[in-house]
Symmetry: D2
Subunit: 143 residues, 4 copies
């Protein structure tokens, strides 16, 4: 069974709805950008998060942390990279880098730790065919 | 069975997350404000929307319309009034006025038409004890 | 001066943050999807909305209307089409179709009318080189 | 000059727009709830954040961290408590507890560290009459 690529990336543009009156991306939106990247990272295992839910699994955020380094501006092209930092039987920790897609500036880094639950919100474990296709990657940037 | 008050109101303050770089409330957020007011209007029947869902009913938005008249600004105190405009067996149409809570300026008006569905998203009807407690009100402002 | 293509489209996937506990896209999010499509439609003129703002113009939503036809589900691939319905000197009316990107089902239609303002929120007119590159299109679907 | 109360609290109800298809408050929304509480905590100094911005100050989020302990459910009444954890000349660190307003269960805790900037996003210091009215409080719960 071949591992998927260790680091995923998604691209987006900062939309008007996401910018505050400082002209900067509102900080809570970054957690949604991380979600977009995590969703695509999971999809690469061949089992999307939507499919995991249909099979009775839940990945619930247990902890989230973001460091905001430079503001994202309206209409900026953004790249969000996502990788798995740590894998325990019932917990997955993802790392993220939010970067300006053109000049490469690091705008933010983050980490979310996800609890593996069943449909009744009890602790569970990912199916092995999914877990095995989620390789842990060293951090490409300092988080 | 006594009718509830014909027009409800909720109060909120425009939060930083809701303001765009024009310094005005982002237009999509108004639909959330209308939702807050509609939720409280329904609660006055004695059966909250949460309880309606537990009983197997859904009110799904079929159409929404908002007219933006004056911008809401960051930290403005806002009053949202909500009333029932029309009641059909399977459809409820609510009207809304978004006003500055201190100076009373009309900032926006809106209308949403809600389809009464069951838990499987088929057409349904509200329980009579709820429907009977939702009086239709004349519009307090022009929508 | 060549006209841009009359209808733009953007693609997105319904993210977890956008889905409510009915498992359907929350209705206010559709206005953000329309904004994403309108932003790309404007970009095709060669002058992005970001650039218009830097030149002192504002397009503020005067009225928005959405008809919800079928629910968008979590992780659904979505296509949003946008076109100009009407152009007056100080007002642009855009039409939108929200469709399932794979099976083509029409999920929602919408319209927003945008007021052309200057940086002080007074009525203004678009620069002719922009206005001339925004052709009015017949509706591709009934709104 | 009298200190304001050391811990502020705001009350809200979980709105439909905030709940995901697990039936739980979507994790990014908690950052907005923290913002609501921080805004009210600042207001107690007699100088609201809106007024601080008018005077040329910015409080930009440098780091945010949330621990999600129990899910908030649709329509749950929520209390968010906010206090100042640390005060440096150019940085304020706030702590937060998100609790069920009726049964008191601790749903989440969080921390945000805010950078004091001027209108050009350079490091700055809060005016003393504001800083002096923001007492540091011991954590009322473990963060």
């Amino acid at each position: 069974m071949e591992a998927t690529s260790d680091i995923s990336e998604v691209h987006l543009r900062v939309n008007y709805s996401e910018v505050d009156q400082m002209g900067a991306g509102y900080h809570a939106r970054y957690l949604v950008w991380l979600d977009l990247a995590r969703t695509e990272h999971l999809r690469r295992t061949g089992v999307s998060y939507a499919e995991l839910e249909r099979r009775g699994f839940r990945l619930a955020v247990g902890e989230a942390r973001v460091r905001y380094r430079q503001p994202a501006r309206y209409d900026d092209p953004i790249r969000v990279r996502c990788w798995l930092r740590e894998r325990a039987s019932r917990r997955l920790t993802f790392g993220y880098a939010v970067e300006h897609a053109e000049d490469g500036r690091l705008l933010a880094t983050g980490e979310t730790s996800m609890m593996v639950l069943d449909a009744d919100f009890r602790w569970s474990r990912l199916p092995p065919e999914v877990a095995n296709r989620l390789p842990v990657s060293p951090d490409p940037v300092r988080i």
